[in-house]
């Protein structure tokens, strides 16, 4: 719908100009932007807010799926490849041969889930948001080593885990989507949106 993309675009411009993640605006500003009264702008902002709540939840869900499939996929695949043995070759045969191993097959399936969730996340969220946030997978890999495989996690590793957690929490608090959208939108009169 046209008014939604207008409002989003306007807020995005205000965000870029303000260089901060908090927008200090009165409702008069979006009203001017939409060419409507203040009360309409309040309603419009309310609708946008209600819509973005489940969206944020979905983003979190896909992120969780992405991290889980990445960690488990890498784990099963590397286990499987250890069973298969050394694998440096430019001919495809050793790679094809590796597919007889069930762990390798499971790992590859999990990594396909990972690929689809990564692509769907990239379809609506910034790359500079996706990358740091999904690095939680390093933390999970290390923790899995400690608690499931009973490898010892060294002090450097704990510090590294703490740093990744800190970095992720910083990035996760930013607005996930800042680049402008390519919109295929139908033109609906603003007042009709009420």
């Amino acid at each position: 719908m046209k008014w939604k993309s207008d409002l989003r675009k306007g807020l995005l411009v205000a965000h870029v100009r303000g260089d901060s993640d908090e927008l200090q605006l009165t409702h008069e500003f979006p009203a001017k932007m939409l060419g409507s009264r203040r009360s309409t702008a309040t309603l419009a902002a309310g609708i946008l807010k209600n819509q973005s709540q489940p969206l944020r939840l979905k983003t979190r869900t896909v992120t969780a799926l992405l991290v889980a499939s990445n960690v488990l996929g890498n784990f099963t695949l590397s286990r499987g490849l250890h069973e298969v043995g050394r694998l440096v070759s430019f001919s495809p045969w050793p790679y094809i041969h590796a597919f007889v191993n069930p762990l390798v097959v499971l790992g590859v399936l999990l990594l396909i889930v990972w690929l689809i969730s990564q692509l769907s996340l990239l379809s609506r969220v910034d790359l500079s948001y996706v990358l740091p946030v999904t690095s939680v997978s390093y933390v999970l890999t290390a923790l899995m080593g400690e608690f499931l495989l009973h490898e010892r996690v060294s002090t450097e590793r704990w510090i590294g885990i703490g740093l990744i957690g800190l970095g992720v929490s910083l990035v996760a608090r930013t607005v996930p989507r800042t680049a402008l959208r390519y919109h295929k939108c139908s033109h609906v009169p603003y007042e009709a949106a009420q």
Partner: protein, 122 residues
């Protein structure tokens, strides 16, 4: 051999992420995860030139990582990939025109330090 493999991990990996990000944003937002919708998504992505180059580049990067892991250990392989967080954040700013405030820069740098430490401390 090691350094060739590292180049094969980092360069195609970075290209793949940037191309996939462009391609997926052009393709439109994905909300539906029912099997049918996913098949339709795959069919439409097969005709998307950005993703068409991005996914094979990702595969090259991935197989290079597998090959590297089979001849060296994790503590050599992963630090090389830690650098790509900062590199890709810079590319996101200039190519994808994402707005990157101090939180994202700080986050990306701290994460890459963390990845470095996690992989060195094995």
């Amino acid at each position: 051999m090691k350094w060739l493999l590292i180049a094969l991990i980092v360069i195609p990996g970075t290209i793949a992420d940037v191309l996939n990000a462009i391609g997926m944003k052009r393709n439109g937002e994905v909300y539906d995860f029912r099997p049918r919708a996913i098949f339709r998504l795959i069919a439409s992505l097969a005709r998307n030139p950005y993703v068409g180059v991005g996914v094979p580049a990702m595969a090259v990067s991935f197989f290079a990582l597998m090959a590297l892991l089979s001849i060296t250990n994790l503590s050599f392989a992963v630090p090389a990939t830690a650098f790509s967080y900062v590199l890709e954040t810079a590319l996101a700013k200039y190519i994808l025109k994402e707005h990157i405030g101090w939180r994202r820069w700080a986050g990306a740098s701290i994460v890459s330090c963390g990845v470095l430490l996690v992989s060195l401390g094995v």
